[in-house]
């Protein structure tokens, strides 16, 4: 199993802060630009999530949808996603990269071939939004065999019994969805409540790295800094949209936002 994820969490812990995870969509707004963004933000982010865009996303909010449609419109293909990941790793071999997307893309590519490509592109982990437990059991174990972390998701609606089973079947990282929402919603639950629930998950098995995502922005990130890791996606995608609209430099603007996020949890 790729050890880079664990290492990234460990490094952050040494600095007494949560790991910062970013999410950007591969190919947003071009293949070249998304690679540049990735390289630049990884100076401040500990782990980079890279979305492979799908045109029928059932769990993404407006910001990420916009990024995904933009990337697809610009002709992004799965092979480009892998090449972005691989190129990224050429210069940042110690920064873990997680691919994230919807199952149909993997299904059409073929599970085994997809994992083989992941391995060859040095991908460390996978998040598949619409392949929940226990449906993901066989795919998750295939991931493990290939040295790739399959990242299980847990939500506020996950029952206690289910939580136990999911944690038992999880690899190094678990993703807690902070609230009932698509990505990019306004944080509608108090940080205190979110952390209470987070602790319940964490207490199941302290060795798992539990990250919190959904609704995390510059405004909210500080209040959740007790977590092992925090994911920011929509706020970044929004910045890309804004920069394009204003004809500004996306790489600089996005890097600045990630830098500020990092400073808030330092």
């Amino acid at each position: 199993m790729s050890y880079l994820l664990n290492k990234a969490f460990l490094n952050a812990k040494k600095e007494n802060r949560p790991a910062l995870l970013t999410y950007t969509v591969a190919g947003d707004n071009t293949k070249k630009k998304s690679l540049e963004i990735l390289k630049s933000i990884s100076n401040y982010a500990d782990i980079c999530e890279l979305g492979f865009p799908h045109n029928t996303p059932i769990a993404d909010g407006g910001q990420i949808q916009t990024s995904a449609y933009r990337a697809i419109k610009n002709g992004i293909k799965i092979k480009d996603v892998f090449s972005i990941a691989k190129n990224f790793k050429k210069s940042k071999k110690n920064t873990p990269i997680i691919l994230m997307g919807y199952y149909n893309m993997i299904f059409q590519f073929n599970e085994n071939k997809f994992l083989d490509k992941c391995k060859k592109s040095y991908v460390d982990g996978l998040i598949v939004v619409d392949l929940p437990y226990p449906e993901n059991k066989s795919f998750a174990s295939k991931c493990k065999k290939n040295g790739i972390n399959f990242i299980q998701l847990v939500s506020p609606t996950t029952s206690q019994i289910r939580l136990k089973k999911i944690i038992k079947d999880s690899h190094d990282m678990v993703y807690y969805i902070s609230m009932l929402s698509t990505t990019g919603g306004k944080l509608k639950v108090s940080p205190k409540k979110i952390l209470e629930r987070y602790n319940k998950i964490k207490n199941q098995n302290k060795s798992k790295n539990v990250v919190i995502g959904f609704g995390i922005t510059e405004k909210t990130i500080k209040s959740l800094k007790k977590a092992d890791g925090l994911v920011v996606g929509s706020a970044i995608c929004k910045e890309i949209s804004k920069s394009i609209e204003r004809r500004q430099n996306t790489v600089t603007n996005v890097t600045n936002i990630v830098k500020r996020l990092r400073n808030k949890i330092q």
Binding site: G61, Y103, F107, P132, T157
Partner: protein
């Protein structure tokens, strides 16, 4: 090793799935985000209990009879049959149902379930606006607050149904993402449910989506074939020896409802024919994943044949009939196709228009563009068949909603 798919007898098709929700080990399932696992499980339990609850069944039957107007009539299309020669053509006039189409069955059952679960809000998707209109009707009838998700493009082209929804007190939420049609409306509705599943019930407008929604919808529309079975026995003293049941297929809810009682029959006695939307004659785009060999993919939480590209991006579709304009199809129809119990074909926009013209010319029947696809197939095969063959078409929608399109394409009406 490939297992051979088999239909079971004596068990409703909606219940012939495995533990993970797959029909034939391959179609359906529940590909949903973690957040929806619990609400889907709750709904699954509730439905299992309700469908065995005598009080609930009584309620359902009461509203089917007194609110929807069950049974809808079963009539011989004498003039059309004589004109074509060959097989007898009959119609099950489901468009007589309250609201003008079969969508009212599913909408009514979902409203009843929503009430039983103590939820006050109901949301649904719509393409042509029928599913939305019916859900808004049912919501009003049962005192529920209702939101309908509809593609911005569809809102423009289906104004009469939008007006009806608003009149019923429903809020129409325009969807601007993607192609701004049904496929995006369903996605947006599911996204809304992800965010509000604690107090809101979701109705999926056809036999598509995660397993439980396929089941609830199929269970609701099955009323059509229960009625037809009784009507056949009454008309012919027994079930005739050569029947062909022809139905249009978009998501597949009316076709399943029309066929469910007859799936156990030998296909030599009762042939099931599904007609998909072939799109404009000269266009490469269509909405016919079953008959034009689309690959299996995952759309809106279920595996089915789906119009998509090599990478798994869902394709744009094109059809004159908004109600059939969906890139996926019900997993139960995929199962019926692969087990060869049903045969699927398609009719083009032009075929459907011609069929509409012919049926309205000869009969006092005004089928909408969706069942006109089914009539196109009936008109095509009837002359080649003998008088002892009974073709029955499910005339599942009324053409009032198509007024503008018909005027534009035919220059009259």
């Amino acid at each position: 090793m490939k297992l051979k798919m088999k239909l079971k007898r004596g068990i409703p098709l909606i219940d012939q799935h495995d533990q993970q929700g797959f029909w034939g080990g391959k179609f359906g399932g529940s590909f949903i985000p973690e957040t929806l696992k619990k609400p889907v499980e709750d709904l699954t339990k509730e439905f299992k209990q309700l469908r065995n609850n005598k009080e609930f069944l009584k309620k359902r039957d009461f509203y089917f009879k007194n609110y929807i107007g069950s049974p809808t009539s079963f009539v011989k299309l004498e003039n059309l049959s004589n004109h074509l020669g060959g097989a007898q053509i009959w119609a099950k006039v489901v468009s007589e149902a309250n609201g003008g189409a079969h969508k009212i069955y599913n909408a009514t059952v979902h409203a009843l379930i929503c009430k039983a679960m103590g939820k006050k809000y109901i949301v649904g998707d719509t393409g042509a606006g029928y599913a939305g209109k019916m859900l808004s009707m049912a919501a009003k009838k049962f005192g529920l607050k209702c939101k309908i998700f509809m593609g911005a493009k569809d809102i423009k082209r289906q104004k009469p149904n939008c007006d009806a929804m608003k009149k019923n007190g429903a809020e129409i939420v325009p969807v601007y993402s993607g192609s701004q049609t049904l496929v995006d409306a369903v996605s947006e509705c599911m996204r809304y449910w992800v965010s509000n599943c604690d107090n809101t019930h979701m109705c999926v407008g056809s036999t598509v989506g995660p397993n439980i929604f396929v089941k609830i919808c199929g269970w609701s529309t099955a009323q059509i074939s229960r009625e037809l079975k009784t009507q056949l026995k009454k008309e012919f003293k027994k079930i005739p020896n050569k029947i062909k049941l022809i139905n249009c297929v978009g998501g597949g809810s009316s076709a399943y409802g029309f066929w469910s009682e007859f799936i156990d029959f030998d296909k030599k006695q009762i042939e099931l024919i599904g007609v998909e939307a072939g799109g404009p004659k000269k266009s490469k785009l269509h909405a016919a994943p079953l008959s034009r060999n689309a690959k299996v993919g995952i759309l809106h939480g279920a595996a089915s044949y789906v119009c998509q590209n090599n990478e798994g991006q869902i394709s744009n579709t094109e059809s004159i009939s908004a109600g059939l304009d969906y890139p996926g199809v019900s997993p139960i129809h995929c199962f019926l196709k692969d087990t060869k119990r049903a045969r699927y074909t398609y009719a083009t926009d032009e075929d459907a228009l011609n069929a509409h013209v012919m049926v309205t010319k000869f009969e006092k029947l005004n089928p909408s563009l969706e069942p006109s696809h089914a009539f196109a197939e009936a008109i095509k095969i009837a002359p080649k068949l003998g008088k002892d063959t009974i073709i029955i078409v499910n005339s599942c929608g009324d053409a009032k909603k198509d007024r503008d399109i018909l005027r534009e394409r035919l220059g009259k009406h």
